[in-house]
């Protein structure tokens, strides 16, 4: 077989020690699960550019390094943000649940929230994504350390926002293999804000599995504000039962190389899946957004809207696929990707894809990329607004409609203020 990447070899070398020390090591079933994961990973190695889904994102800066010191360093810091205060907050520091920093008391009954490490430790097995072809999930399964497990009982609705913070500090060689599991009972509803922040060099690899029962609704926000020296490769899988609604908004600012991969499978009628997001990148940042929406049954709608602003040498990637299975009739799927290039050395690659095997459908996608509108810029200047203010105003306007789509006002204001911060640092 061909040569392994140094980092993959490093993980294989460390596996035997890990399997006997990581949470759940006393459980045979957890051990078996980890072994299955490492075997799959050993066969696949890290994703590379010859894999169609990874053609635009090159992980060699990560996989060539056996120690984090080898990773070239960026001087840019993560954007400072005023944090959003929420009633409930669960905090993970360097991949492990921190009880001290979390505020979880008083969660209404019917909402069960805990760390995965604890449930692995108690031997409670949970079903994991069995996909054979996604190396990062396999790696996560082999090395998962902690993460949150959230279950909401039938009919329970949480009115306030539940915030989950992942704070990472670089310096250690281990990746942060976070595994999250969310299950929403029938007719339940919850709003979640995930925040990923950090400093220094590290590799974050969170995997989140979501299942929504009949009539459930999840508003899922994610702020990716990792260190500019970090790798953030996340995968979110969501399954929608009938009448359920999944709304995801991912706001990406951080990371040296980041990828936000979301796969949603619509398995019941009258369901909705809305994946939106914005990314603001500068320096040598690389940000990849990859979505797959599978319509497996009839009478559903889905949408994706992503907007990106790319400055300096930053590079953006958007790959979005809508897949309509045979006999999944009366489906509407819409997709839009827009990228703004602010500098001569910024770039964007886009692959919006439709795979349609049913006829009674209405699907569309649009993709645009280009610079700021010169006419608008001149018009603003001719009214006395300086060029830099005019640019800022136009970038804000470019982002306005997607940020406006956020239904929770506190989150909307929070993200808007972060965007304003980012712009003022230009």
């Amino acid at each position: 077989m061909k040569n392994r990447t140094p980092l993959a070899q490093n993980y294989l070398d460390r596996f035997e020690t890990a399997v006997s020390t990581l949470p759940g090591h006393e459980s045979r079933s957890v051990q078996a699960l980890r072994r299955q994961g490492i075997d799959t990973f050993a066969a696949l190695d890290f994703p590379h550019k010859r894999i169609e889904e990874w053609r635009y994102t090159n992980l060699s800066a990560l996989t060539k390094a056996t120690a984090n010191e080898d990773v070239p360093f960026s001087d840019l810091d993560a954007i400072q943000t005023a944090s959003l205060d929420t009633t409930y907050e669960m905090v993970f520091v360097n991949g492990r649940f921190s009880n001290e920093e979390s505020r979880l008391s008083g969660l209404p009954t019917g909402i069960t929230l805990g760390g995965i490490a604890a449930s692995l430790g108690s031997g409670a097995a949970f079903s994991l994504s069995s996909e054979e072809d996604r190396a990062l999930i396999a790696l996560n399964t082999a090395f998962m350390e902690d993460g949150f497990s959230l279950h909401v009982d039938d009919g329970v609705q949480l009115d306030s926002i539940l915030k989950i913070t992942f704070r990472n500090e670089g310096g250690t060689a281990d990746g942060r293999h976070i595994r999250n599991v969310i299950s929403l009972g029938q007719g339940s509803m919850i709003t979640l804000l995930e925040e990923h922040t950090g400093s220094g060099v590290y590799f974050s690899n969170p995997v989140t599995n979501i299942s929504l029962s009949d009539g459930a609704m999840l508003n899922h926000y994610k702020l990716q504000n990792e260190s500019h020296n970090a790798f953030h490769l996340s995968l979110t899988d969501c399954e929608n039962a009938k009448n359920s609604v999944y709304q995801n908004f991912t706001f990406s600012l951080g990371g040296k190389i980041s990828r936000n991969e979301i796969k949603t499978s619509i398995l019941g009628e009258n369901s909705e899946s809305h994946l939106n997001g914005a990314y603001l990148m500068r320096g040598k940042q690389h940000c990849d957004t990859t979505t797959l929406t599978e319509h497996k049954v009839s009478k559903n709608i889905s949408s994706q809207v992503y907007k990106g602003v790319l400055d300096d040498d930053a590079h953006g990637v958007f790959q979005g696929k809508i897949h309509i299975f045979p006999d999944a009739q009366q489906v509407a799927g819409d997709q839009l990707s827009k990228a703004l290039l602010l500098s001569d050395s910024a770039g964007v690659d886009c692959k919006p894809e439709l795979e349609i095997h049913a006829d009674d459908v209405k699907c569309s996608h649009g993709a645009t990329s280009g610079e700021l509108d010169e006419d608008a810029l001149f018009y603003l200047q001719s009214r006395g607004i300086s060029e830099s203010s005019a640019r800022k105003l136009l970038i804000e306007a470019f982002l306005a409609d997607v940020l406006e789509s956020i239904s929770d006002t506190p989150v909307k204001e929070y993200f808007n203020s972060i965007a304003a911060n980012w712009l003022s640092e230009a």
């Binding site: 603003l380 300086s386 105003l393």
Partner: protein, 247 residues
């Protein structure tokens, strides 16, 4: 106020203005008329500083300063206002935000206190009432989805708000019905004063029935070929450009 001497300018490598001379004193209203392709819009863009309009010769002095040295926003802050022939649509930017940002930028430039949202809104309301403009326009994105008439009214509203010293009107009458034309003319006439000047660039003399100019110039092939008083406009209307330019 404005002194243009032997102005030459090219667009995309092609010379459009070929030695244009024009002097506008405080309080005067001048009209520049000319056939299509004479360089009318180029003149307005050169004066307002649009990129791509390259000045290759001559000078433009505004209030004793070199206008050509200034960036477009500084010209605006110095009191040069261009009413666009085709006002630009800016999706995502609310009109109110736009007006306030521009208004305060100009005040700041002059060393004046910026207005807060409330004070500003009050001022805008006064102006819209004065001009008979519906203020629901303020909530919409700049010029987006505006009819031709609404776009021109928006230009007039901005002019009323910014109170410029030099108004440049680029074919403001094109595509306007008679009511909208009157609103536009009214906007200019309200601002007419011994301290302010205006340059009206137009193909037809229609607008000049409502804003009576002190001087009329004929622009042909990048130069002023004839100047006169307001009767020249009527003469042009009657005889056409060909005859006058040839004379």
């Amino acid at each position: 106020m404005l002194e243009i001497k032997d102005l030459r300018a090219t667009v995309g490598g092609k010379e459009i203005l070929k030695g244009l001379n024009l002097t506008i004193n405080s309080g005067e209203v001048h009209a520049v008329m000319g056939p299509n392709g004479a360089g009318k819009s180029t003149l307005s863009y050169v004066l307002s500083g649009r990129a791509g309009y390259e000045v290759t010769g001559g000078t433009v002095t505004y209030k004793g300063k070199n206008l050509l040295d200034m960036t477009p926003d500084v010209r605006a802050c110095e009191g040069v206002f261009l009413a666009f022939q085709y006002p630009v649509e800016i999706p995502g930017v609310a009109s109110a935000t736009f007006l306030k940002t521009a208004f305060n930028a100009q005040r700041k430039f002059r060393g004046e206190e910026e207005l807060d949202a409330l004070q500003f809104l009050k001022l805008v309301r006064e102006k819209t009432t004065e001009l008979g403009i519906k203020d629901d326009m303020l909530k919409r994105a700049v010029n987006v989805g505006f009819s031709g008439g609404e776009k021109k009214r928006n230009e007039v509203l901005q002019m009323a708000l910014f109170e410029p010293d030099l108004m440049l009107l680029d074919e403001t009458d094109s595509g306007l019905d008679i009511d909208a034309l009157k609103v536009a003319a009214d906007g200019v006439n309200r601002l007419r004063s011994p301290e302010r000047s205006a340059l009206i660039i137009t193909h037809y003399q229609r607008l000049l029935d409502y804003v009576v100019p002190d001087f009329v110039h004929v622009l042909a092939d990048g130069k002023i070929v004839k100047s006169g008083d307001k009767s020249l406009a009527l003469e042009l209307e009657e005889k056409g450009y060909a005859e006058i330019s040839a004379a």
